[in-house]
C-alpha cells in the first residue's frame, strides 16, 4: 500500500461525499414534483410521453398496483430484448454479420439486463450486434435503473406518509427518474468519456498491420504441431461510450466488450476510471440524502450513509492490503511497489490502474450492484477476492445498486430497530411508526430468500460433475469460489464474475437466469408489502423511550446487524472457498 494509493482513494470518497447532499435534495424535488432547473425542457417531454402512453399522472397506486405495473413493464422490456437478440441477424447495424443469439443465452441475457444484473455469459464483441447493444441492452440500463429508483422512492414514501394507502405512481416515478436524473447525467458523462478515448462509432471492425508479425506454434486436432503467422490485428469498434456512461450510472455493469472496464476502449485512462467509479456511487449515495429529505430527518440519512461508508472502508482496506501482498508461489519476480511499478498481484490487472485503483474498483462495484470490473476478480488473491464476494453477500447495501441498495438497507434498518426494541423491551419504532410482527416477518422473508437461492443452486452445481463442475477453469477451493461467486452475483443482481467459470452452458444459463429473476422480483414483493403496510400507520410522537435513528449508536448497531446476519449465513461457504485457499496458498499448495 502506498501514500499515493490512499490519496487516490481519498479523492474518490471526497467526490462522493461532496455530491451526496446536493444530488439527494435535487432527487427529492424531482420525486415530490417540485420545480427544478430542467423543468422548462423536460416538462413538455414528460406530458407528451404520458399522453402517448395513456398515463394519468394524478393516479396514486397502492403497493399491489405499483408492483403490478412494475412487473408488467419489466416483462414487456424483457420480451423486447429477447426478440431483438434472436433476430439480430436480420436487423440493421450488424456490420460484423453476427448470427442470431441461441435461445438459452438470449433468455439468460434478457433476464440479466432486465434485473439490473448484467451477468454476461457471452463475449459481446463476438456475439451482439451494434443494434442489440444499443436497443436491446443499453435501454435496459436506463429502464432497470429507473425502476430501482422508483421502488426506492416508493419505499421512502411508505415511511414518510401517514395514514395513507398509496405509494405514488409507478409510471411517473419511472419517467422522472429517467428524464430528470439518468439521461442528463449520462449525456455529460458519455461525452467526457469519449474525450478520454472511449470509442463511439458505428463502423465495422478495423484491421491493422501489426508492427512485428508473430509466428505461433499450435497443436492441431490431429496432434501435429502447426505454425501460423499472425500479421494483422482486428480491432473491435462500436458505440461504447453511450452505453458505458449509463452502465456505470445505473449500476448495471454490462460491458460493451468482454473485458468490461478493463478494456482500454471502455476505460482508457485513470481519469475515466475515477469517473466510472464515481458514477457507480453517485446516485445510491445521493438517495441516502433523498431519504433524509423526504422523511424530514436529514440526520437519519447521514446515519445510514455513515454505516455504508464504514463498510465500504473496511472492504477497500482489506482488498487493497491483500492485493499488495507478494504471492508466495512465484519466484524470481520483483513484486514490491516502487517508484517505477505498482508491484503486488498484477495478474488480471491493467498497468494504468495498478493495485490501488483495481482494489477500489472491485470494492465499489460490488458494494453497489454494479458488477462492472476493471480487473479480473478471478485472479485476485484469496482474501482480496473474498472482499467483492462478501460485499454482494451482505446484500449490496453499501450504497448499493440504484434504488435497490437503499431499500435493501432499509430492510436492515427495520431489523435493527426491532432488535433495539427487544433490548429495551418496548415496541420498536422507526421514525415515529410502530414496527410490528407483520413488518418484521416480511423483512425476514426478504433476508432469507437471498441465501436460499444462492446456497441451494451452488450446492447442486458443486455436487454435479457432469454439468456443474465441468465448467470450471480452476480446481481446489478456488473452484468452489467460482461457482459460489456466480450464484451470489446472479442472485444479488451484481453481474461481476469469477470469470473462469465457462457459464455459457444450458445448465448455467438457465439456473443463473432463474437466480437473477427471483433475486430481483421475489425480493421486491415483500419489500413493497412492508412499504404498503408502513404507509397506513400513524406517526407517534417521539418519547424518551424511542430509540433514535440519527446517532452514531444507531450507525454502530445497524453495521453490526448487517455483519452478524451476513456472517451467520455465509461463513461456512466462505471458509471452504477463499479462507481455505488462503491457508493452502501459504502452505505452498497449487491445484
Amino acid at each position: 500500500m502506498t501514500v499515493n494509493g490512499w490519496l487516490q482513494i481519498a479523492v474518490f470518497f471526497a467526490l462522493v461525499l461532496l455530491t451526496t447532499k446536493p444530488l439527494g435534495k435535487y432527487m427529492a424535488r424531482v420525486f415530490e414534483g417540485r420545480r427544478t432547473l430542467l423543468d422548462p425542457i423536460l416538462v413538455p417531454v414528460e406530458r407528451l410521453l404520458y399522453r402517448m402512453t395513456g398515463v394519468q399522472r394524478e393516479d396514486e397506486m397502492r403497493w399491489t398496483e405499483y408492483g403490478g405495473a412494475m412487473l408488467l413493464f419489466s416483462l414487456a422490456t424483457m420480451l423486447l430484448t429477447y426478440v431483438i437478440e434472436r433476430a439480430q441477424h436480420i436487423l440493421p447495424w450488424n456490420p460484423q454479420h453476427l448470427a442470431g443469439v441461441t435461445p438459452a443465452l438470449a433468455w439468460n441475457t434478457a433476464v440479466s439486463f432486465t434485473t439490473n444484473t448484467n451477468w454476461q455469459s457471452y463475449v459481446p464483441e463476438q456475439t451482439m450486434s451494434y443494434l442489440t447493444q444499443m436497443l436491446g441492452l443499453a435501454t435496459h440500463n436506463f429502464w432497470s435503473a429507473a425502476t430501482g429508483i422508483a421502488l426506492a422512492v416508493a419505499f421512502i414514501r411508505g415511511i414518510a406518509r401517514r395514514e395513507m394507502k398509496t405509494l405514488g405512481n409507478f409510471w411517473v416515478d419511472l419517467t422522472r427518474a429517467t428524464l430528470w436524473v439518468l439521461l442528463p447525467i449520462s449525456i455529460v458523462l458519455a461525452l467526457v468519456l469519449v474525450s478520454q478515448g472511449v470509442i463511439q462509432n458505428l463502423r465495422p471492425y478495423a484491421t491493422a498491420q501489426i508492427l512485428q508479425p508473430q509466428t505461433q506454434t499450435t497443436t492441431g486436432p490431429d496432434g501435429k504441431p502447426a505454425t501460423a503467422t499472425i500479421s494483422t490485428q482486428t480491432i473491435a469498434q462500436g458505440p461504447a461510450a453511450s452505453q458505458e456512461a449509463i452502465k456505470m450510472l445505473g449500476t448495471n455493469g454490462g460491458g460493451f466488450f468482454n473485458a468490461n472496464s478493463a478494456h482500454p476502449f471502455e476505460n482508457p485512462t485513470p481519469f475515466s476510471n475515477l469517473l466510472e467509479m464515481f458514477a457507480i456511487f453517485l446516485i445510491p449515495a445521493g438517495l441516502t440524502a433523498t431519504l433524509g429529505e423526504m422523511t424530514g430527518s436529514p440526520r437519519h440519512g447521514w446515519a445510514v450513509f455513515a454505516a455504508m461508508a464504514l463498510l465500504w472502508f473496511a472492504g477497500v482496506f482489506t482488498c487493497y492490503w491483500a492485493e499488495s501482498q507478494p504471492s508466495p508461489l512465484v519466484h524470481g519476480v520483483e513484486q514490491r511497489a516502487s517508484l517505477n511499478q505498482a508491484g503486488g498481484n498484477m495478474e488480471g490487472k491493467e498497468v494504468r490502474f495498478g493495485i490501488a485503483n483495481s482494489a477500489l474498483f472491485a470494492t465499489v462495484t460490488t458494494d453497489a450492484s454494479c458488477g462492472a470490473v476493471n480487473s479480473a476478480h478471478d485472479s485476485f488473491t484469496p482474501l482480496g477476492g473474498m472482499v467483492p464476494m462478501v460485499n454482494i453477500l451482505l446484500g449490496e447495501i453499501v450504497f448499493g445498486g440504484v434504488g435497490a441498495g437503499l431499500y435493501g438497507m432499509l430492510i436492515f434498518v427495520i431489523i435493527s430497530v426491532f432488535i433495539a426494541g427487544l433490548m429495551v423491551g418496548r415496541t420498536p419504532e422507526y421514525l415515529g411508526k410502530k414496527i410490528e410482527a407483520y413488518d418484521v416477518q416480511l423483512a425476514m422473508l426478504y433476508l432469507l430468500i437471498f441465501p436460499l437461492i444462492i446456497l441451494c443452486l451452488s450446492a447442486i452445481s458443486v455436487l454435479s460433475p457432469g454439468f456443474g463442475l465441468s465448467a470450471l477453469t480452476n480446481q481446489g477451493p478456488h473452484g468452489l469460489s467460482e461457482i459460489f461467486y456466480a450464484y451470489t452475483s446472479a442472485t444479488g443482481n451484481n453481474g461481476s464474475a469469477f470469470a473462469g467459470l465457462s457459464a455459457n452452458t444450458r445448465w448455467y444459463n438457465i439456473t443463473l437466469g432463474i437466480a437473477m429473476f427471483f433475486g430481483r422480483f421475489l425480493m421486491i414483493v415483500p419489500m413493497l408489502a412492508v412499504a404498503g403496510n408502513l404507509v397506513t400507520k400513524r406517526r407517534a410522537p417521539a418519547s424518551v423511550g424511542t430509540f433514535p435513528v440519527t446517532t452514531p449508536l444507531f450507525t454502530a448497531l445497524l453495521t453490526s446487524v448487517i455483519l452478524i446476519v451476513g456472517a451467520l449465513t455465509f461463513v461456512p461457504a466462505l471458509s471452504l472457498g477463499p479462507v481455505l485457499e488462503h491457508l493452502m496458498m501459504h502452505a505452498g499448495q497449487v491445484f
Binding site: V11, T53, G54, V55, A76, E125, L135, G136, T139, W143, W171, L174, T178, A190, V194, S195, Q200, A208, I210, L211, Q212, I230, Q233, T234, I235, A236, P239, A241, S242, N258, A259, A262, P264, P268, T269, N273, V330, H331, G332, V333, E334, Q341, G343, N345, M346, G348, K349, V351, V373, S375, A376, D378, S379, G476, P477, H478, E482, F498, A499, E581
Partner: protein, 197 residues
Amino acid sequence: MKRHLITACLYTAITAIVLGVGYPLLITGIARLAFPAQASGELVWRNGVLVGSRLIGQPFSGDHYFHSRPSAAGSGYDASASSGSNLGPTSKPLVERIAQSVSSEKTEAPVPVDLVTASGSGLDPDISPAAALYQVHRVSSATGIPEETLRRLVAAHITPRQLGLLGEPRVNVLELNLDLGRLSENKPNISRSQTNP
C-alpha cells in the same frame, strides 16, 4: 391491470426508440464533431497503413523489440476477443506460466511483476517503467543502440500519473517500439532482422 399492460407496451416501444436509438446517435454525432480521433479508437497510421491503436497493445517477441505483457486475449492481443486469463492465485497452470516467463529472461535480476502477468483485458497497451528499463539491456545488445540512448528513449515515453495523482506511471509499448524503429533506421550499420524465436 389491462390498462397497465397497454401502457407497459407503449412505454417500452417509445422509450426504446428514445434511449436505444436517439441517445446513442446523439452521442455518436457530437463525438464525431468534437472528438473524432478518440471516438474511432486513436488509430495509428504509418505511411498510409493502419498499424494499430494507441490504446490497444500488440504482441512483440525476439530481442529487437520491447515486449508487451503476456496476453490471454484470443491467441494473444486479439482485439476482437478481449479477456484475462482468469487463473486463480493457486492455479498450477498460472504458477507454471509465470515460472516459464521468468526463465526465458536472460538476466539474473528479478523480473518486474507486470512483465510476467497477463492483464485483465489481454490488450493492455502499457508496461510499467520498471518493466521497460528492465528490457533495455537486452534490446541494446540485439540492436547495438547504446543503453544510455535507450534509457533516454524510455524516459521520454513514460506517461506520468494523470493530473500528477491518478493511476500509475506507464510506458506505451507500441509507441516506444515505433520510436525504437526510427532510431534503428537512422543507424544503417545496424542489421534489423526481424527474427522470431
